[in-house]
Symmetry: C2
Subunit: 108 residues, 2 copies
Amino acid sequence: VDKMETSNSIRFGMQAVFTAQPGKGEELAQILLQASQVVSHLEGCMIYLVQVASADQDKILITEVWENQEDQQTSLANTEVRELINRARPLIVAMEHTPAKPLGGKGL
Amino acid sequence: VDKMETSNSIRFGMQAVFTAQPGKGEELAQILLQASQVVSHLEGCMIYLVQVASADQDKILITEVWENQEDQQTSLANTEVRELINRARPLIVAMEHTPAKPLGGKGL
């Protein structure tokens, strides 16, 4: 893929908070950690961070940064990613999802 | 500082969403980007990511990861960090703040 150095301006990111079924936070986190392994090898994935809220073990926080939104969309078609999403879906009762533009900072 | 390799388990992280005064999102983001520069040199800072919500330019998203909570607390006493916090405070109308434990993923 002959991609010129993707400029900062078209980077794509997000923060999400998943609320799992009661007691299912650990299981959901493990699935999302597997997803992070898969996407880490996919084109354009820069950050895919999985955290568990300190005050609520059923709340799983995800931070993502991609070189561009197109690569992020493409990842959703990946068979392994789709399989993991299907496994995670029944465990999720709510999701807050904030698409964003990464501006900078440590870790990019 | 003779610190044994800090194990994964005591890492400290968070996601935050700052809502700026109307029209002040850009100014707040610039201050938080400066803060990310300062903390990037401080002991234990692993990730300090600044993003702006795509749907609302006055919503600034922060993801942080530290080797441990102690280092994060120490950073709040840093004179430059305190000065930036004081500059940011009047611009902020609301803040959602979720302390968390980083579990893994790409970027750590």
